[in-house]
Amino acid sequence: MPYPASMEESKRKVEATRAKRLEGGNFPRISAEERTSLVSEFHPDYKKEQFRELRIGPNKGGSAPLEIADLLEGNSRIEPDKIDLSKIDYDVDVSVIGCGGAGGAAALLAEESGANVLISSKLRLGDANTIGAQAGTQACDRPNDSPAMHYLDTMGGGHYVNDPELVEALVKDSPSVIRWLEGLGVNWDKESNGSMHELSGGGASRRRLHSCKDYTGLEEMRVIRDEIRQRNMHGRKINWLEFEPAVELLMDDKGQVAGAILMNLETRQMTIVRAKAVVIATGGMGRTHIQGFPTTNHYGATADGLVLAYRVGCPLVHIDTMQYHPTGAAFPPQILGFLVTEKVRTLGAELVNCDGEQFVHPLEARDTEASAEIRECKQRGKGVTTPTGEVGIWLDSPMIDILRGAGTIARELPAMVRQFARFNIDIAKEPMLVYPTLHYQNGGIVIKADASTPVPGLFAAGEAEGGVHGKNRLIGNSTLDLFVFGRRAGKAAAQWAKEGNLGKLTLDHVRKWQREIKEAGLEDMPVSPMLLPNYANQERPVPGFQPLGQVSSYTPFGDRAVRWI
C-alpha cells in the first residue's frame, strides 16, 4: 500500500465517486469573467508582496519577482580589468549559449546558413528543460484546424498581451517545424495511415498536440543532439563546449554584442569567445524557486540568459509572469514538484478534491487550473495533506483506462507509469496527488519575429525570450517556440554575421554596470548569473533535518555565493 493510511480514506472517496463522474461528464467550463477573478485572487503572479521594482537597467521602474530582481541587479562575476581580451580562444561567426531545443535548432540552422558555429552549454549537450517536456508540440496541421485558430487560442491563453508578430510566426511555422523534426528522424505518434495522432490540450480549441508517447522532448532533444554531433564529426563548422556557462557577454566599441566569456565549471578558467552574433538560448528560471515553489525544471534553469542580456542593455518583457504547472507531484516527497504531464488530463483524467468532487474543468488554460487548485486547498480546505505537510489535489488517472480501454495508460504514458512505479504507485489503478509547481517563464528577452533583440548582434530563442506567450503559455507551445524561434535565430544570426563587421572587443559595459550598481547603493547584491542552485547541505546531519519536501530548505545562494574569480 503506497499511500499512507492518512491519505487512504480520501483516496477511497475518489474511487467512490468515479463511476458517477464518468457518467456525468466534466465540470462546466469557466466564463471569461470567472477566470479573471479566479486568477487575480489566487494565482501567485498576483501576490504583490512577492514582486518589487527594478532599480537599475533597461527595465528600471518595472516589476519583477523578488528572486529574479535580485539576479538582474546582481554583481558581475568578472573583474573586467583582469581579463585579457587579446587572447581569443574561439573566433566564430555565431556563438549559441545554451543547448536545449532552441539552442540546438539555432546552431543547426546557423551552420546550414553558412556560419561557423560554437554552441556552449552549462551542463551536458542537451541537458535542458526540453528533455523533460512530455505532452507534445502544437501545430495546426489537421484539416479542421488553421493558423488563425491556433493564433486565437494562443492570444486568449496569454491574456491578449502577446506580440502579434511573434504569435503569427509561431503558428505559421508550426507545421514546417513538425516536418523538419521528422526529416531529422523524430518519431511522431501516428495513426496507421500515417496521419498524425493528435490530442487536445488545455486552452486549445483543436486537437493539435503532436507527441512521441510521453517522451516528446526527450525524442526531440536526442535527435537534435545527435545531428549536432554528426555534423561535427563530418567536419562541418559546428563545435560544442560542455560545462562552460556564459558569465558575461562581450561587446565591441560600436555597441554590438561581440561574443561571450564562458567559465569552465570545474577549473573556473575563462574561455573568451569572439563572435559576430550571439544567440541566447539559456531557458528558464525554475531553480530560483520563486515564492518558494518546487519546480519541474532542470538543475541549470537559473535565468542566466536574462541577466546576460540585461547587462548589455536589452529590455525584458512580461518578466513578472510565471507559469505554475497545475500538476506537479505532491506525493511522494522524493518527487515533489516533478512534472505530471498535462497529457494525463488530455486523455481524460479529472482533478478532484479530498471528497472526490470535481471543482474545475480538466482542460482549462494552465493559470486557471493552477488557481482553482490553490483555491480548493487554501480557501475551501478541500486539499489532501501528506505526511510531510504538503497539500494536494487528486488527479484521477484510472479514469483513462476506463474511458479509452485497458492498456491506454501503459501505451500513452510510459514515463509517468515508470516514475510512479518506482515509488510503488500504479497510476492505472490509483490516482496521483498533485499541486501547482513552478514550470515556465512566460516572458523574457524582447525579440522581433526574426529572433533579433534591440541590441545589435544579439538574438534570443526559446524560454529565455518573451512576448510569444503573453502572460500565460499554452501546453505544447513551448516546444514549438523552441524550434520556431531557434530556427529563426540561427538563420538571422548567420545572416547578421555575414554582413557585420566587429570592432574592438570591450568589457566597458560591465564597468558601467558596476558603476551603476555602486551609484544605486546595490553593492551587496549577490553575484549573477546564478549558474547553479546550491542544494548542498551546510549543516551537519541530522537534527532538525527537513525532508526534501520542505521547500524552505532551499537556499539558492547560501553562504557560498563566492565570486568565482
Binding site: 493558423p147 528522424g185 518519431n187 486537437r207 526527450l218 541530522v542
Partner: protein
C-alpha cells in the same frame, strides 16, 4: 553516535551509506541525488533534469559485503542501508558517421550492420539489459538491430535516456544506446508513413493561404479578440 541518538529522538530514521568509499549517515527516504546533497556535495556533474529523463545521473552501486553491482538513475532511486555509491558522470561514446539524409534504408540491406558491423559480435550475455535503469530489454533490441528490424528497435528502445550504462557493461564494447539512436532516426525519417495533412498544410502556408486571415486577426483590438475567443467552438477531446 550522538547525532544518531538525536535523530532517534526526532524520529528521523537514518541509514548508513558510502559515497565513493566514505561513510555518511542520511535520513531515510532521500533519493541518491538528494543524499549526496544532504552530505554536502554541491553537484556539477551527474545531475540534470532531476526527473528521470536526461540520463545525466547514471549511478552504480553495490552493498556492503555484496559485490554484485546494481544500476539506477540517482535522481530516481531512494537510498537503502549500506549502499556503496559512485556516479558515472560521463561515458565515452564512439558513434558511427552517418548522414540521415543519405541513409535511405533498402529492402534486404541492414544499414545498422553497415554502420556498426560490431553488432554482430554480440553473444547474448544480457549484461546490457541488466544494467538498464529504465528496465529496457536492451539485448532484445540489439537482436532486432542485427536482424535489421528498425521497427522493433524503435519500440523496444524508445524510452532510452542515453545514460550509457549498457555500453559500460558490454564485454564486447558495443554501445547499444547510440546504435538504437541511429535506428530510430532511420525509422522516423524514412519508414514512418507520411502524414498527408501535414505536408498539405505546409504547402498551403507557403502559398500564403492564411495570410489575409492572420493579418485581420493581428489588427484586432483586445476586446475584439476576446469576443471571438469566447465564441470559438471547441472540438471535443478524443
Amino acid at each position: 553516535m550522538a547525532e544518531a541518538e538525536v535523530a532517534e529522538k526526532e524520529k528521523v530514521k537514518t541509514l548508513d551509506i558510502y559515497i565513493m568509499g566514505k561513510h555518511y549517515q542520511v535520513p531515510e527516504g532521500l533519493t541518491i541525488q538528494a543524499a549526496l546533497e544532504y552530505c554536502g556535495y554541491n553537484l556539477v556533474r551527474s545531475v540534470g533534469c532531476r526527473s528521470g529523463f536526461c540520463g545525466a545521473c547514471a549511478t552504480v552501486y553495490c552493498f556492503k559485503n555484496d559485490p554484485q553491482l546494481s544500476y539506477a538513475l540517482a535522481c530516481q532511486k531512494a537510498i537503502e542501508q549500506d549502499m556503496y555509491l559512485t556516479q558515472i558522470p560521463f561515458f565515452p561514446t564512439v558513434e558511427a558517421l552517418y548522414n540521415v539524409e543519405d541513409l535511405e534504408p533498402k529492402e534486404g540491406e541492414n544499414e545498422l550492420e553497415k554502420l556498426y558491423p560490431i553488432i554482430l559480435t554480440c553473444f547474448g550475455c544480457n549484461n546490457c539489459t541488466k544494467s538498464c535503469p529504465q528496465d529496457l530489454e536492451v539485448m532484445e533490441f540489439m537482436s532486432a538491430a542485427i536482424r535489421g528490424d528498425y521497427e522493433k528497435v524503435y519500440e523496444k528502445s524508445f524510452d532510452c535516456v542515453m545514460c550509457g550504462l549498457c555500453a559500460a557493461r558490454c564485454p564486447q564494447g558495443l554501445q547499444p544506446y547510440v546504435m538504437a539512436m541511429a535506428a530510430r532516426r532511420l525509422r522516423g525519417a524514412y519508414l514512418a508513413l507520411e502524414s498527408k495533412h501535414l505536408l498539405g498544410r505546409v504547402e498551403e502556408i507557403d502559398k500564403g493561404k492564411f495570410d489575409a486571415e492572420l493579418e485581420k486577426l493581428k489588427k484586432m483590438s483586445q476586446d475584439e479578440l476576446r469576443e471571438l475567443y469566447a465564441k470559438r467552438e471547441i472540438e471535443p477531446a478524443k
